[in-house]
Symmetry: D2
Amino acid sequence: MITQTMNKTITFTQQVEFGDCDPARIVWFPNFFRWIDAASRHFFVQCGVPPWHETEKTLGVIGTPLVDTHARFVKTASYGDVLQIHTHIAEWRAKSFVMRYRIMRGDDLIMECDEVRIFAAHREGDNASQPGIRAVAIPSEIRSLCE
Amino acid sequence: MITQTMNKTITFTQQVEFGDCDPARIVWFPNFFRWIDAASRHFFVQCGVPPWHETEKTLGVIGTPLVDTHARFVKTASYGDVLQIHTHIAEWRAKSFVMRYRIMRGDDLIMECDEVRIFAAHREGDNASQPGIRAVAIPSEIRSLCE
Amino acid sequence: MITQTMNKTITFTQQVEFGDCDPARIVWFPNFFRWIDAASRHFFVQCGVPPWHETEKTLGVIGTPLVDTHARFVKTASYGDVLQIHTHIAEWRAKSFVMRYRIMRGDDLIMECDEVRIFAAHREGDNASQPGIRAVAIPSEIRSLCE
Amino acid sequence: MITQTMNKTITFTQQVEFGDCDPARIVWFPNFFRWIDAASRHFFVQCGVPPWHETEKTLGVIGTPLVDTHARFVKTASYGDVLQIHTHIAEWRAKSFVMRYRIMRGDDLIMECDEVRIFAAHREGDNASQPGIRAVAIPSEIRSLCE
């Protein structure tokens, strides 16, 4: 018997602007990561996870910093394009999780990306001159909202 | 008898990168403001003002947010250019000051900018969900370092 | 008798993202200029002006570079905020025009900005290693779409 | 007998600015990719490869767009930090190459990244409204400068 958990997929729409493109007239790639980070935050918001300044008080969680990212650029995009970023959590690990993104323009795959992120708390001794973070166990309250 | 105070001028060097340019192959203008903000911070660092996370403890000052900016774009710049940003404080007011920037490429004036900035402290009731700031009187410890 | 021409006002909506904010937890100001530039392009698109790569062929116009900008920052904004950018052309001059922006969060004025922009064509001798532009007279085809 | 080709390593220095950091007071990760792209361009410049607007005329090569990137974030960085980005070409393939980056702060590894890039030319039918690129075989003139 197979028990399959279908994780939620959230779609975030992003317009490509003139200033997002470089002298080759295509999206300058770091901008894809700006949008992916926005899509990641929107994923949690749409799943009903409170903003990080609230979870900081309730769970100690200040955000989901990136540990590892692997992206594949398939087709170029340019200004005027409207992109859909489909986001879901592909895997839950003990102290990290894999977020998977597919950026589409209509039926065309533009870029896909797998990220490993953690739920972060302030590290002991953390302060403004020595910012530091540590990974915490996946909070079950957050996980259940994303599945 | 005239007593003239010559304020310090600090020069910050900035290379223009490919990704700073737009499909017209010239610097996309918001990037000039990124560099001006960096030049502003470097001005204070070079004048010997401690980092804001230290002045937050000693003076309550958390930074110098912008109130008003007026920029004039004279010549275009493109990637490969090396720009010099000359920065000084043109005027001290009761609760604000004017920072003046001239961005040069060799002898060519590229852009000039006058900003009104304040020294900011946290506002009462400020917190993560309701960030707020207020202007404080010009700290004489900081002013004397910049003149 | 007063003949008043009411220029069109176009509203562009912009979400503030986590990465748009700085360590003071408020929007880092160069990002306002990113959004204003997008609002400027959307203004022309919404008024029915063709994309610049088309006007380049029909009118020689490659875009509307900025000559002068004056912005006033009134209230801070932070991530999660939804901003409305109201844009119209406040003045037509011989070879330039004034775009006026009001960035609102509900009823709160966050920032207002007046820009002087030109309609630009390639300058003679313009090429990839020496990019150059020149101002052209306001194209009546474009002006009539924006009024 | 082993013939080992040592590819050149070029180091690019990058200061972290206030505006590069997010509300968690650490570098917002898309900025690492901005710097890596700059380091990539500087690598070729330092190796003596002409700017892309020249190679466009001589070799048809307009740049080195990214096909795939894999990055690992090891330690956080914050404003005031000075980073060294060490760049070399780790592998030459038929129509692509692997650029390897190590971002260090003194002896601390901050981030490492492997990219697959191509040498790109305009695709037939490429124009402003349909930008398109294609991979060309590694130009031996460029390869020999980088080894």
